[in-house]
Amino acid sequence: MTDKLVQPFSQKRTAELAESLSAGGTIKGRSLWADARNRFVANKAAMASVVVLLLVFAFSLLGDYLTQFDNETIDWDVMGSVKELGRPSLSNGHWFGFDESGRDLYSRVVQGSRISLSVGLVGAFIAVMVGTLYGSVAGFVGGRVDSIMMRLVDIFMSIPYMFVLILLLVVFGRSISMLFVGIGLTAWLDMSRIVRGQTLSLKNREYVEAAVAMGVSTPKIITRHIVPNLLGVVVVYATLLVPQMILTESFISFLGLGVQEPDTSWGALISEGVKSMNYGTLWHLAFPLFFFVITIFCFFFIGDGLRDALDPKDR
């Protein structure tokens, strides 16, 4: 019994270790990223959210193949009496029922998910790229450049973004690409402020000073030393930015300014569901709302998990 306790490694493992220590092999280190990954995987809520989110993504991409109905065909028989004939039903294949105009709601939700998710991801991506570069340059170069760049951000921020977005959509027409541009234009401002703050604290770290002393050029220092060390904060903020983008898009669509028929999104579907709530067709609201809510929850849980994993001191 005791003999077993004294030997924590099997002989094979010991031999492996001995071999890797001998001059030939190199020992693999464990990076901070690997540490963070282990902590993230251990976080149950975050991992469950990842699974659910993957299912939502799969639903938006592959959902069309699971039904025989498309999102355009109108069932004229149902159209006038959706409340009686358009209920969700497993027997006729219209799992989510019909929408107000007699189209298959399941296909409509798949279509809406696709647009909402892509708005969220693309919007967040634009915001992260622009914000990170802008903020790290402003923070690292400092001085007058920093003042001018950040005052510009202040000015943009002082304009109510919803007003700008609505104005853009009204002036240039309501289209999805305009929505992308409008949301991307305003969302990077917060990002750049966060990144600038982080850069300022990284700038005076000794390893950055060491890089300056050894003659590494400024762009290389930013890309090699500043940005990788910022990435933790950026990743966390980006995961929280995606639901924010989805919310913004939904709000705009809810107002009727965003996605236009025949395209749709979660916000547009929810808006329609709310309008028809009085007629007793609650499923119009329930299905899109369900996907909307779980997606946003999942992103928040993942963001939370990432923050705990990447910065264990802050927990």
């Binding site: 001059a23 901070l32 000794e206 890089a211 300056v212 002393a213 003659g215 030393h225 990788p228």
Partner: protein
Amino acid sequence: MNDLSPLLSVDDLRVWFDIKRQGAMPWTPTDTLKAVDGVSFDLMPGETLGIVGESGCGKSTLARAVMRMVPAETGTALWLGEDLLSMSKREMRGHRKEMQMIFQDPLASLDPRMTIGQIVAEPLKTHFPDLSAKEVKNRVREVLDRVGILPNMVNRYPHEFSGGQCQRIGIARALIVKPKLIICDEPVSALDVSIQAQVINLLMEIQQEMGLSLIFIAHDLSVVKHISNRVMVLYLGNVVEISDSVQLYKSPGHPYTEALISAVPIPDPKAEKGKEVMLLDRDLPSPLDPPSGCVFRTRCPIAEARCAESKPPLKDQGNGQAVACHLR
């Protein structure tokens, strides 16, 4: 050694910082903090110059100004006859491989997201971008081996090493481009005493092997005594004494040096008990408002009226000792 021309010759270097007063309006004039105020010294090839002084006396700022990491107000720093302080950034970058730096906090000076192999290779890749990957790898292994880190550790990350090992990695990074000068900014202050000795001995061995010059900044006088050929004592950004290190410890010239040396603990309880420590009155004056004349006069036990009138120049006393005091 004296017939050689100096490697680095710093003349009348001044580094001033503008400090905004709290709640000041944008147009009110800023206060000036004279961090380094007219420092001159020569560094010979292969020589070690120790720089000592209490916190905030401008030791690190002096080193950073020579490395062009903080802008100097006036003065020159001749590197083999060329002025480092007036050359363009591009020219300076070319010279950076000849002078490297080692930092105080060993872990903080290594990028936590890079493996030590990447960290040590970085200066090589910066200054010799044409080297093949294999050659870089060989050089990295060679230099790591030299500082006593097993070369099979190249894929490990800084947080997996102890403080002493991290400092060795820092030394390896400085050595890999075969510099002529290494500026050590308090390289052992953050380490245990036993590790300090190892790191210092390593530095001395490497210096002998490669014929390096060292500028060794510290506030621990016994460490400086061990490693330096000459010692420069700074007080409030001014040089109060530059002297041969044996001479300095045997008979300190300036009253401030005297006080510093009397405060060094002796590792023998009996001797320590009977030792007389020369305590200085009052606190260090604010560097924003230094005393007139001799900066040390407010705390000097032998100050006279003329000390307030003019700044004492650095006078060569012969025997390799130069002291800035009216009375010595």
